[in-house]
C-alpha cells in the first residue's frame, strides 16, 4: 500500500504543470474559444513531443506503457489550464478501444500513429434515445458481400470534428438476421455518407452529432472479431470517467485558489470578505470537497484494471461524487465572486462551464449513484455475469 507519487510521476506532474502555466494562459484560452477547430495543432504536436500521446500505449506499438494514474496526473494539470485538445477522445477512449478490441494488424496500423500525433480518433456511441444507457444502440451494421453497410445516428461525439477516424458502435445484422451483438466499426471521418453537425462544447472543445446513411465499409472496418464490444465500451468509458474526474479536480483546485484570493482582496463594510466566518466556512467546505474529489479520482484510477463490477462501481462512485463536489465548488465560486462571477470578464465562468460539462458527460450524479447501487445489488445477489 503506497499512494505516494514515484519520482517519474513527480516529474510528469512538474512538466505538465509547467506546460500549462507557461503555454496555456488566459489569452490562449480566449483564442481557442473562438477558433473553429477549438484547439491548437501546434499544441497537439507538442503533446506528441512530450510523449503524452504515447503515454498509455503499449511499448510494442510505440508507446510508453503508462497507466491510469499517469493519465490522471496529466489530466489534473490539463484541468488547471482548461486544455481543449482532444486528448480524452483520441488517447483515453480511442487508443484504449483499439488496443482492447482491435486485431494485431488494426493496432499496428493505428496505435503508433496516435503516439506520434498523426492520427486522431473519436468514439461515436451515444444515441439520443439511449440517454446515458451504454447498452442501448439502434444504429445497424448490415453484413454485405463486400463488407458492412451502416445506418443510424449518434450524438455528443467528443471532438468528432477533429477526428481522422471515428469508432462507431452498431448492432450487427448478418445472414442470420438481427443479432444482439454490438460491434465497433472504424469509419473514416471524411466520407460523403457521414454527415457531421459539430458545435462548440460547453466549457471548451467541440462535439458533434453524426448521421450515417448507407455508409459502406470494407470487411476489416470491424474491430477484431466483433465480440465483447459492449463490455469494452463500458470499460473504456469507466477509464474516461476516471481521467475526466482528475481533470475536474484540477479545475476545482484552480477555482478554489482564485476564489480564495478574491475574498482576501475584495473589501465590503470596510474589511475583506474573508474576514467573515460565513465566507471562511464556505471556503473550508469547498477545500474539503476538492480534497474528497481528489481522493475519488485517484481511487477510480487505481481500480481501472480491477474486476468489472469493482471497477465500474469505483468509476461510477467517483463520477457521482466528483460531479456533486464540482457543482458545489463551481456554484460557490461564482457566488463568492458576486456579480463579477456571472460575467464573461472573469474566467470563473469558463471553469464553471467545464465542470458542468464534466457532470453531464456520460451521465450526471444521480445516474451514477443509481448505477453504483444497481451494481452493488448484483454483487450482493450473486448475479454478476461479466
Amino acid at each position: 500500500m503506497d499512494l505516494n507519487l514515484s519520482d517519474e510521476q513527480k516529474l510528469l506532474r512538474e512538466s505538465a504543470e509547467r506546460f500549462v502555466t507557461e503555454s496555456y494562459d488566459a489569452d490562449h484560452r480566449r483564442k481557442m474559444a473562438n477558433d473553429p477547430l477549438g484547439f491548437s495543432p501546434v499544441v497537439w504536436k507538442q503533446f506528441a513531443e512530450l510523449g503524452w500521446l504515447a503515454l498509455p500505449i503499449a511499448e510494442e506499438f510505440g508507446g510508453l506503457g503508462g497507466g491510469a494514474v499517469e493519465i490522471g496526473i496529466l489530466m489534473e494539470a490539463f484541468g488547471r489550464g482548461l486544455v481543449s485538445e482532444p486528448y480524452v477522445a483520441t488517447v483515453v477512449l480511442g487508443a484504449a478501444l483499439i488496443d482492447r478490441c482491435g486485431s494485431t494488424a488494426q493496432k499496428r496500423a493505428r496505435l503508433p500513429k496516435i503516439a506520434d500525433g498523426s492520427l486522431k480518433l473519436a468514439l461515436a456511441h451515444s444515441e439520443r434515445a439511449a440517454r446515458f444507457d451504454l447498452a442501448r444502440v439502434t444504429t445497424i451494421a448490415n453484413k454485405t458481400a463486400q463488407g458492412w453497410r451502416l445506418a443510424g445516428s449518434k450524438i455528443a461525439v467528443l471532438d468528432g470534428h477533429a477526428a481522422d477516424e471515428m469508432i462507431v458502435s452498431a448492432h450487427i445484422h448478418d445472414h442470420r438476421g438481427p443479432s444482439r451483438r454490438i460491434g465497433l466499426f472504424v469509419v473514416p471521418a471524411r466520407t460523403p455518407s457521414l454527415a457531421i453537425a459539430d458545435y462548440p462544447r460547453l466549457g471548451g472543445g467541440r462535439a458533434c452529432n453524426i448521421a450515417l446513411s448507407d455508409l459502406h465499409l470494407p470487411e476489416d472496418a470491424l474491430l477484431g472479431d466483433g465480440d465483447g464490444a459492449l463490455p469494452a465500451i463500458e470499460w473504456a468509458v469507466d477509464r474516461a470517467m476516471a481521467a475526466l474526474g482528475a481533470e475536474a479536480v484540477g479545475i476545482m483546485q484552480t477555482l478554489l485558489e482564485t476564489t480564495l484570493e478574491y475574498t482576501k482582496i475584495r473589501k465590503q463594510f470596510g474589511r475583506p470578505l474573508s474576514a467573515n466566518q460565513v465566507i471562511r466556512h464556505r471556503l473550508a467546505d469547498m477545500a474539503m470537497q476538492v480534497d474528497e474529489a481528489r481522493s475519488m479520482a485517484l481511487r477510480a484510477a487505481l481500480k481501472v484494471d480491477a474486476a468489472p463490477v469493482e471497477r465500474a462501481r469505483a468509476a461510477s462512485g467517483a463520477k457521482a461524487k466528483i460531479g456533486k463536489c464540482a457543482r458545489f465548488v463551481g456554484e460557490q465560486s461564482i457566488q463568492l465572486h458576486g456579480g463579477m462571477g456571472v460575467t464573461e470578464e472573469l474566467e470563473v465562468g469558463a471553469y464553471f462551464k467545464r465542470l458542468i460539462a464534466f457532470d453531464t458527460l456520460f451521465g450526471g450524479s444521480a445516474h451514477h449513484y443509481r448505477r453504483h447501487a444497481m451494481l452493488g445489488r448484483r454483487q450482493v445477489d450473486g448475479l454478476v455475469d461479466d
Binding site: M1, S274, R280, A287, M296, R299, G317, R370, H372, G376
Partner: protein, 398 residues
C-alpha cells in the same frame, strides 16, 4: 502507487484475524453490537484491553520502549480495519489514545513508570476533564482553579460531558493555576485520582437514553503537585497536542463501513419489508458508501504520507469532520430504513442484558438511540464549526 498490501502485511493481517478469532467471544461481540453509545461499557471494553495487552498490542500508537508494538502505519491500518470488521469492543481511548501520549511526551519518569503500565494492563480507567458549563468551544476560558498549598494543589470547580466519569478511577484535567495576559496561559495539566475526597459525579442522560456522560464537581480537592504533567501553566500546549490525537487518529472509515453494512443488511431483510427495493433508499446507501470510499482514500493518502515521514497537516480536521458527518448520515439512514420500528423506545440499559423480550427485533434496537446519541459526533472533540475554522486558518490561511 498501489492499493494492495505486500506479503508481510498480508501475513500480519492473518495474524490479526487469528488473534481476534481466538479472543473475541460471542458475548463481547453481541454486547458491542448492542451498545448504542460511543463507548463500550468497561466490563466489555476492558476484557478486550486485557486480551490485547497479553498479545503486546495494548497501545498501538505508543513507542516501543513504553510497550507499543512498533507497527508501521500500514500495520495500524490493518489492525484497526480488522477490529472494525470483527466488531470488537471499544477500549478506554481516554487512557490509551489520549492521556497516554501526553504522559509519554511530557510526563516525568515517575509518572511514566507508574501510569503507563496501568493503562496498558487495563488496571486504570481514565476520563477526560476538559469542558466546563461555561467553556465549550472556547475551552481556554475554563475556570476550574487549582491553588497551590505547599506540595499540593487545592482544586475547586466543575467539569462537564465527562465520558465514563462514573466508571473511571482517574481523570486528566485542564485546570487554571494562574491568570495570564492570554487566557491560554496559566492552564495546567493534572492527573487526579477519582476517589479523592471532595469529588462528586452527577449523571447526565443523553437523548438516546444512555448514561455515558457526567458532570463532575470539585470541592477543595487536594492533589499533589507531583501529579501535574510538565510545566505549570503549559497545560494548554499539552491539551492541544492531545486533541490532535483525538481528531487525527485517522482510521475511521472501516468502522463507518461496518455501520453502513449493518443498515444495508437490514434494508435487504424482510424485517424492513426490503426497504432497499425503494430506489431512494438504495441510492442513499450508495451515496453514503461513496462518501466512505472518499474518506478511506483520504485516510490512506495520509497514511502514505506518514510512512515516508511527511506531515499530513490540517487534514486531520478534514478527517474528523467528514467522519462525524458520515457517521450521522449512516445513523439517519438507519432510522429511515427501519420504518415504523423507529417509533419504539426501549428504555432499559444495557441492551445486551435485557430481562424481557423487546417490541422490536434485536438487530434494530440500537438504530434510533445511535441516531440520537450520534448528534454528539459533530459536537465533541471540537464542533464542526470549530473544525471549519481550523481548516480555513491552517489550510487556506484566512
Amino acid at each position: 502507487m498501489d492499493l494492495s498490501f505486500n506479503a508481510e502485511e498480508r501475513a500480519f493481517q492473518d495474524e490479526v484475524r487469528g488473534f481476534i478469532a481466538k479472543n473475541l467471544s460471542d458475548e463481547m461481540k453481541r454486547a458491542t453490537a448492542l451498545t448504542p453509545s460511543v463507548f463500550s461499557d468497561p466490563d466489555i471494553g476492558m476484557a478486550w484491553q486485557r486480551a490485547l495487552h497479553r498479545q503486546g498490542w495494548g497501545a498501538p500508537g505508543w513507542p516501543v520502549e513504553h510497550g507499543g508494538p512498533d507497527w508501521t502505519p500500514a500495520q495500524r491500518w490493518i489492525f484497526e480495519t480488522e477490529c472494525a470488521r470483527a466488531g470488537v469492543p471499544n477500549v478506554n481511548v481516554m487512557g490509551v489514545k489520549m492521556v497516554g501520549p501526553v504522559i509519554i511526551g511530557f510526563g516525568s519518569d515517575a509518572q511514566k513508570n507508574f501510569y503507563l503500565p496501568r493503562i496498558l494492563s487495563g488496571e486504570d480507567y481514565w476520563c477526560q476533564g476538559y469542558s466546563e458549563p461555561g467553556s465549550g468551544s472556547d475551552l481556554s476560558s475554563l475556570k476550574t482553579r487549582a491553588v497551590r498549598d505547599g506540595d499540593d494543589y487545592i482544586i475547586n470547580g466543575t467539569k462537564i460531558w465527562t465520558t465514563h466519569a462514573h466508571h473511571a478511577n482517574r481523570m486528566f484535567a485542564l485546570v487554571r493555576t494562574s491568570d495570564g495576559p492570554r487566557q491560554q496561559d496559566g492552564i495546567s495539566f493534572i492527573l487526579i485520582d477519582m476517589k479523592t475526597p471532595g469529588i462528586t459525579t452527577r449523571p447526565i442522560l443523553t437523548i438516546g437514553g444512555d448514561h455515558e456522560v457526567n458532570q463532575v464537581f470539585f470541592d477543595d480537592v487536594r492533589v499533589a503537585v507531583a501529579n501535574r504533567v510538565g510545566e505549570e501553566g503549559k497545560g494548554w500546549t499539552y491539551g492541544k497536542y492531545l486533541l490532535e490525537f483525538e481528531r487525527g487518529s485517522g482510521i475511521a472509515s472501516a468502522k463507518l463501513r461496518e455501520g453502513l453494512k449493518a443498515i444495508a443488511e437490514l434494508a435487504e431483510s424482510d424485517l424492513t419489508g426490503r426497504a432497499i427495493d425503494s430506489p431512494d433508499i438504495a441510492m442513499r446507501i450508495s451515496e453514503v458508501e461513496v462518501d466512505i470510499d472518499a474518506l478511506e482514500m483520504t485516510e490512506l493518502r495520509v497514511l502514505s504520507a506518514l510512512q515516508t515521514g511527511q506531515n499530513p497537516g490540517a487534514v486531520s480536521s478534514i478527517l474528523k469532520l467528514r467522519n462525524s458527518e458520515i457517521r450521522q448520515a449512516v445513523t439517519r439512514l438507519g432510522a429511515d430504513v427501519i420504518g415504523h420500528d423507529a417509533l419504539a423506545v426501549e428504555p432499559m440499559r444495557p441492551l445486551y442484558k435485557l430481562n424481557h423480550t423487546p417490541a422490536t427485533p434485536e438487530d434494530m434496537l440500537t438504530v434510533v438511540p445511535e441516531y440520537l446519541n450520534g448528534r454528539a459526533y459533530t459536537i465533541f472533540g471540537g464542533t464542526s464549526e470549530i473544525q471549519r475554522d481550523i481548516i480555513a486558518k491552517m489550510m487556506l490561511g484566512i
